[in-house]
Symmetry: C2
Subunit: 143 residues, 2 copies
């Protein structure tokens, strides 16, 4: 996992720097699909003089190299996801909480559906569900 990350960076010809490690670890720990600001705040304790620009730069690189993903929201702040597999998101209707939702059976159901029902003039690469609603067990990793 941590070594996996190092390997992936090196395979892309990118250096394994303390900043990059710290940013990646922060995203893993902050498991509510953190914003850049969340990440900076988290890192600041052990790594007080990290530069804001560096964080944004590194996040872009991670996204480009597919070490993380961006998560779409209706807000004017980007959020990041270290979880790369085909999965879906539960959006809280009231708060900024976003939880992962994995469901292989559902993925297959949808894949089969689209195998039979092609979309004209469109080649599907990826399907993600945004499931909006309310969490009943309050909090957990709120924002």
């Amino acid at each position: 996992m941590a070594t996996d990350f190092r390997n992936k960076l090196q395979a892309e010809g990118l250096k394994v720097t303390p900043q990059r490690v710290a940013i990646f670890e922060a995203i893993l720990r902050l498991n509510n699909h953190p914003t850049a600001e969340d990440i900076i705040a988290f890192i600041k304790t052990n790594h007080p003089n990290i530069s804001v620009g560096t964080v944004y730069k590194v996040l872009d690189i991670f996204v480009e190299k597919k070490l993380i993903q961006k998560v779409k929201t209706e807000k004017d702040v980007m959020r990041y996801d270290p979880f790369l597999s085909n999965h879906h998101h539960l959006y809280c209707a009231n708060t900024e909480r976003i939880e992962d939702y994995e469901d292989e059976k559902l993925n297959q159901l949808i894949a089969e559906y689209f195998k039979k029902n092609k979309i004209k003039n469109f080649k599907i690469q990826d399907i993600t569900l945004q499931i909006t609603g309310k969490f009943s067990s309050q909090n957990k990793s709120k924002k």
Copy 2:
């Protein structure tokens, strides 16, 4: 349709102003899920001195009153959708094009699936698919 819009505004106790009408019509005409900037550019021809702040304000009101929806993207610009029914979106992997995708059969399939497979601690309100891929018939209403 146009009167429907007026009624809905009045039902909410909101005044029907030329700006609001122009903004709503612009969103209908600009059928690629326009940004505020797209809307402003479109309106400027007939309505040269509309204020940017007004457009953002009005868009917020429309969203709040459910006359339009926001469309989630990975970009730092908001996009708006006049289409309110349960529908999905086809995101072009290369361009900013976003098309509506309506599929009642799919909606039912998914609804049935979740009727049988509840998500623990979560009450679903709405499900939207983001379908990413490539359009084969190039353009139509590009960005």
